[in-house]
Subunit: 396 residues, 3 copies
């Protein structure tokens, strides 16, 4: 309880920049104070719940989710976060709605927002489109609010787009903070964000981009490794490099998993599609060119197959700092011999770190709730402080 | 706040007829006091929310929705209304349920209602069937309640049927009241409810019927315009004519959009299928006659195409009172050059009134909530008064 | 109110064995005190609600449902139960999720449970698999909780598996208790759980198994009747026989509906697939052998057709005690001339008992809520007592 009081006091005193009434779309649009604030609010919410203290700051209100791609864990994290704060979930399912009937985004967005507080969106299938869609939604909300259509301007939370996956990256950061004891302790640690082999193609780039876009801000030695031709969005690479420089860390791109693993404190082996393939895929999908897509898939899979040795196995783990680097993954991982014949990680390595990856995922509901709270409340510290003081039991 | 207190006082003092424990199926089954009461309750709820006052009058309870046709805006309005009052939503999705497995309506209705307070139904596809279905549901609920199966008799709200679209018509009325300052000010105003061209066929008749069935009760000059052969249900036409006469207004059917627009204060151009086509369509759908349906669609679209000049464009708007009539639409509109090549309204006219149509739609969640509240509470004024007195914050 | 206070006092004083923090998977894994406790809690919750007393014991929290087979009534019962206690529902829809993407059960179960209190599962399609799946989920939850992944270990409620349908059997028991006045009055009563003809095949065995697995514990004369070859799972038969012996009742298997109906106080005619057919079906489904499934279906339906006289009609009902046995069914029933040409029950017999079957179903939401409450609270009597004392209104 004493720690919790101190934590809430830190939240009260911190000056943030782009949280209140500001969408959470890319972590690098947020200041370091913003990032720390969201981490601390998440921790405070988690602590309040563990002390069985009610955190329903809304008596009514909707959190809307729009998943333009499949999701289990993020869907449940978003629902859990909404429920934790007292909001009811309403899913915008384009199959069930009239969106296909020629409604423009601008109109739909207003129609669903009359009594909504938060909108969470996953749109990660099309390179160049997902984040843009979220900003289009934001513009429509701004317009609706300014024109008096909406009594409030709901906040948007990016639940994964083509550029970033901020709820994942922030959960990963929370996990690292807990694992290494503090954000300060991350300074000088080597993180290997590396491509890994997968028998599928077309996986979004948002996780590796989210990781290098956030973790280069803590003075870490970040090494991005991938086979030639598997590059990420150039602007994100530039951002990562700039941030590393600014915080006294480093950022390097290499074409060898072994090199990245060497002496690493943390490894994050994860498959993704090459930037160029994602671009071509987007074009083909837009043109409904199914034949073209098949050709592209075959070509991409064939190319992937050249790099089947990009697997995090016991031998590669031996290369890391004392052979004991922390293995991370956003889940689900392609585990060799478990979920596929040959994949991103060997079964023994995954099993060793399985519980850690589950804990990593467990931060997500609280981080989403923290994003919601800091978006809706100008003084989230005061809100948390009142919750603690009231001390209403969550479970009677 | 002073206005709100006066409004709530009006609600307390008003004697209503068919609201408490009575389904909301057709506006013309409600007295004028009922209509005014629902409008006022909606306004009070909107005002309470804008003052951040909690309106959860239920600590638990379900609002069930059954959408037998697609919906975005009404679905979100219904969810928002339920949430505003503290009810949780449960959708009855016939795809997921065992209804198709030979359950009778009577049985299903009881099975879903043990702890339900409200059932909202959209069933607008079949002429002669949608409203009848709602009454069948109502009879089953009456029976279940009388026989002791149900501890309460849930109220039904018509979310659009083959005859009326009361939540839309009431939202439209609320918009007109706000736009013209009062219901009294509607007296003598000319409203043109007119058919408009659309490149689709089979749109329900419920919106135009809902409009003439409600707005002929305020002493307005209501003109219904449509091409020959695009008539509405005869009984609704009779009701409209009778009501206009009783309230010192007028009701006229013409076959020219221009004539209807002439000197109009309000225009409501909206496509619908001819009554006869809807009847044939219902028959063909019942017989699963897909070939017959295709022939009918082709015939209907071909016939529609004769009336492509029934479009609300700038020239037609010039015919209206000072060229400044209020344009209304239930949305989504078929906008020429935007959502279709040629449609109900030109892009410039729609854009001019776009924000007004969004505001029009914004009344719907509160009107549905008002229908719920007046159905469940014998003295809704007292309830609202207590909410105001308590003044619990919706958002902490 | 006096009765309610006495009822709650009984709950406070009763010592139970396997309720708190223990999954509800099979009724015969629970002690008689457990069974009586759940019945009494359900009755207390029903009474509190009928007195308009709020029973939300959670301020936030999720109840997760996973329906691997269609459901209307159980889905609504589960939602109602969750809502009654203040939990929000989140459905785990395998179509919408990434489960098909190679996630293991172990992982998914942890991912959805970070802030969940209850998980309800229906998995009744595969003989030998449904109950096993629930235990696999339970093991994953145990592991996640022990390893510190989950802050609490959610409780599992069996919403129908291949072996038992405990929420149905308990609702049936509650109905019998009310109908005959007490559990003691069931002693010596004859219950005929009999197979009945249906024009479908592949119906689960869980209802008859649930009935003989629970109702042999009250000193009743239980007679299971089915055509030769329509046997149930042998272990359940053994359990039923043992329990009947222990409680001074009897258990008998016969091959004649008439014999079972003779002098019966209660009849439960319900179709199911033969144990052997369900086993073969499971095998064929696993192998995706569609041709084999068609052959099996034809064979099974042809065999069913030999027993079309296994219909509960007026003549058969005359064989029962004074011709007035209570007819029971889990619904929906195959009613001859109503939901099918020839089915489990004649239209006149069903109509006579229709309202009783609806009341039978009406206990289910409260029984599920009682299972939730007793799983989450070590002292449910104290909780109910506090709710009564507080007396917060459910409906303002």
């Amino acid at each position: 309880m004493k720690n919790l009081k101190k934590l809430i006091n830190d939240i009260v005193l911190r000056n943030t920049d782009n949280l209140f009434n500001t969408d959470f779309l890319l972590t690098w649009e947020k200041s370091m104070a913003d990032v720390e604030q969201v981490l601390d609010i998440a921790e405070a919410l988690k602590s309040l719940r563990s002390h069985n203290i009610d955190t329903s700051v809304f008596k009514s209100g909707l959190a809307i989710s729009q998943f333009r791609d499949n999701s289990t864990r993020t869907r449940f994290s978003f629902t859990s976060a909404a429920n934790l704060l007292g909001l009811a979930l309403q899913d915008l399912d384009e199959g069930k709605s009239q969106i296909s009937h020629g409604e423009t985004v601008r109109e739909t967005v207003n129609m669903i927002s009359f009594l909504s507080d938060i909108i969470g969106i996953r749109d990660d299938m099309y390179l160049g489109a997902g984040n843009a869609y979220m900003r289009e939604v934001g513009d429509a909300l701004d317009d609706g609010f300014e024109q008096g259509v909406l009594p409030q301007r709901p906040g948007i939370i990016n639940l994964q787009c083509d550029i970033d996956h901020p709820t994942q990256a922030m959960a990963d950061l929370a996990h690292l903070k807990q694992y290494f004891g503090s954000l300060e302790n991350l300074k000088g640690k080597k993180l290997a964000m590396t491509w890994a082999y997968s028998p599928s193609y077309g996986k979004p780039l948002s996780v590796p981009q989210g990781i290098i876009g956030l973790l280069t801000r803590f003075g870490m030695e970040v090494e991005l490794a991938h086979p030639e031709g598997y590059g990420l969005i150039p602007e994100v690479i530039e951002t990562a490099a700039r941030q590393a420089k600014e915080t006294g860390g480093s950022f390097k791109v290499v074409n060898s998993m072994d090199e990245a693993f060497k002496n690493a404190d943390i490894v994050y082996p994860k498959s993704w599609a090459p930037y160029e393939v994602m671009g071509q895929r987007t074009e083909l999908l837009r043109n409904n060119d199914h034949a073209g897509l098949k050709v592209l898939e075959q070509k991409a899979l064939k190319n992937n197959a050249k790099f089947m040795d990009w697997e995090a196995d016991a031998n590669k783990m031996k290369l890391t700092k004392n052979g004991e680097a922390l293995y991370m993954h956003c889940l689900p991982a392609d585990i060799s011999g478990v979920s596929c014949e040959k994949g991103e990680v060997s079964a023994d390595v995954f099993e060793k770190y399985r519980i850690e990856t589950y804990k990593e995922a467990g931060y997500k509901p609280y981080l989403i709730a923290a994003m919601m709270l800091s978006n809706r409340y100008e003084d989230p510290g005061k809100v948390l402080s009142e919750l603690l003081k009231k001390g209403t039991k969550r479970k009677m």
